[in-house]
């Protein structure tokens, strides 16, 4: 219990002391996660929409695989990305291992199926509602996808936030591909893992509280900017 109280006090002290290292870690965490969420949304949302409006032979199997990929073990993703980006790997020449870019790649792989799957469910429901109208208006497939994504934006925002939630708290993959290098690839989660390993529970907890606060602030900010719930019909 005293560790928790001490952790909270440390968190306040760290924030109000404007610790430069801490803010560097926070900004890198945000940069890596938000970049991954944006990229995964750009890939996952159209993928979800495409799956919702198209009928093809292995559609059910594809959706089942996509849903299964939501539970991808981050450590395994990290390991695979590590092998691909390592010097002897197929993309070794790019020298991306132990860089924020490698961390973004790993996170994109982890959260794209999650965003695509939630998007698919949201857009499938909207497609059922719009189907006859969009066929009647002689829309092309691209116009349908664009319309569905635009009109399902609130549900899609939830998909992005779910991706953000998973990515910001992720540690296994980014530890492997990022290496937790001070001032280069250290983010909140890897710093927490490090401090816990060192036995500095108070500091680890302080970072943990900051991580939770960050996740809440980003969610609130996005909800506020996108005016979610304001257009509710009840």
């Amino acid at each position: 219990m005293s560790d928790i109280v001490e952790g909270m006090l440390s968190a306040f002290r760290l924030i109000f002391s404007l610790d430069r290292d801490l803010f560097e870690i926070i900004f890198l965490s945000l940069r890596v996660t938000l970049t991954a969420v944006i990229i995964a949304s750009i890939i996952g949302m159209p993928m979800g929409a495409w799956l919702a409006i198209n009928r093809f032979r292995y559609r059910r199997l594809t959706i089942a695989i996509l849903n299964a990929l939501m539970g991808l073990p981050p450590v395994v993703v990290g390991l695979i990305v590590y092998i691909i980006l390592s010097r002897s790997g197929p993309l070794g020449v790019l020298n991306l291992l132990f860089t924020p870019t490698a961390m973004i790649i790993a996170q994109v792989i982890i959260i794209t199926p999650l965003i695509a799957s939630i998007s698919h469910q949201a857009i499938r429901d909207l497609w059922a509602e719009y189907h006859d109208l969009l066929i009647s208006l002689n829309t092309t497939k691209r116009q349908r996808i664009f319309t569905l994504i635009k009109d399902a934006k609130r549900s899609l925002l939830t998909a992005s936030l779910a991706g953000f939630g998973r990515a910001i708290g992720e540690v296994g993959a980014i530890m492997i591909v990022g290496g937790n290098i001070d001032h280069l690839t250290r983010v909140l989660t890897t710093a927490i893992a490090l401090e816990t390993g060192k036995g500095d529970f108070a500091f680890a907890l302080a970072l943990g509280f900051i991580l939770i606060a960050l996740a809440i602030i980003v969610n609130l900010a996005i909800h506020s900017i996108s005016k979610t719930e304001r257009g509710s019909t009840w």
């Binding site: 006859d132 109208l133 116009q143 019909t233």
Partner: protein, 238 residues
């Protein structure tokens, strides 16, 4: 000059769902001019016939021949559903949508949509989410959206079902105005009074087939088949 999409000729078309025949085989010609009302008891295939005309249902066998190519025919007709399907957008944006699809600029589409909003007296709700409109307002909006693209053919599936007298009157008035402007209208209704007020000719469907077709005044005055007689007398037709 836009090509005329009508007349339309449907020959020997059948619509089946899960192996069950819904309508057909049907033969029907739709002329360039007129206001056709399709009537018949529940399950007679009225909606399916409209959907077949509009391309929302596929015909098993038979032929559907427009006066022009299918793409042009599709672009020059509009469909109003019994339960309005409105986009999760504002009333103005709902009308703008098909205009933008046709490559009209945003400014022009917005101006056009606002004119329609004024015409259907939805000025105060123009920027309100369409979901918040009343049933009558939703149907007027759906009709305005259908008319905004200046279709040669307007297809309506019981547009005033579940609406009160005032909303029905407004929609009928808009339809009569549309008819006077030269748009070909095909509509289904259950309302005998409405059919008498609007129809120039009537198609009577029964058990998935066209049972009778003729000029409205003749159909209502002296229907030839027993089923049509029962129906026009306002009695229950099983």
């Amino acid at each position: 000059m836009v090509e005329r999409i009508l007349p339309l000729s449907i020959k020997h078309s059948t619509v089946k769902k899960h192996g069950k025949r819904i309508i057909g085989p049907i033969d029907i010609d739709i002329s360039e001019d007129g206001f056709t009302i399709i009537m018949g008891p529940n399950g007679s295939g009225k909606t399916t016939l409209l959907r077949l005309l509009h391309g929302l249902e596929r015909s098993r066998g038979g032929e559907i021949n427009w006066n022009t190519d299918l793409e042009t025919a599709r672009l020059n007709q509009s469909y109003v559903f019994q339960t309005p399907i409105l986009l999760r957008r504002t009333a103005v944006e709902n009308i703008m949508y098909p205009l933008l699809l046709r490559g009209i600029t945003k400014e022009e589409a917005s101006q056009n949509a606002k004119e329609w909003i004024a015409r259907i007296k939805l000025d105060t709700s123009a920027n309100l989410n369409a979901k918040l409109l009343s049933g009558g307002e939703k149907q007027k909006l759906a009709l305005a959206r259908a008319l905004a693209t200046k279709p040669q053919l307007l297809i309506l599936d019981e547009p005033t079902a579940n609406l009160d007298g005032t909303a029905t009157k407004e929609i009928e008035s808009l339809l009569q105005e549309t008819r006077r402007s030269g748009t070909r209208i095909i509509m289904t209704t259950h309302d005998l009074g409405q059919a008498k007020r609007l129809a120039e000719d009537v198609v009577f469907l029964y058990q998935g087939n066209i049972h009778e077709r003729g000029e409205a005044k003749n159909f209502f005055k002296s229907p030839t088949t027993n089923e049509a007689k029962v129906f026009t007398a306002g009695e229950i037709l099983e």
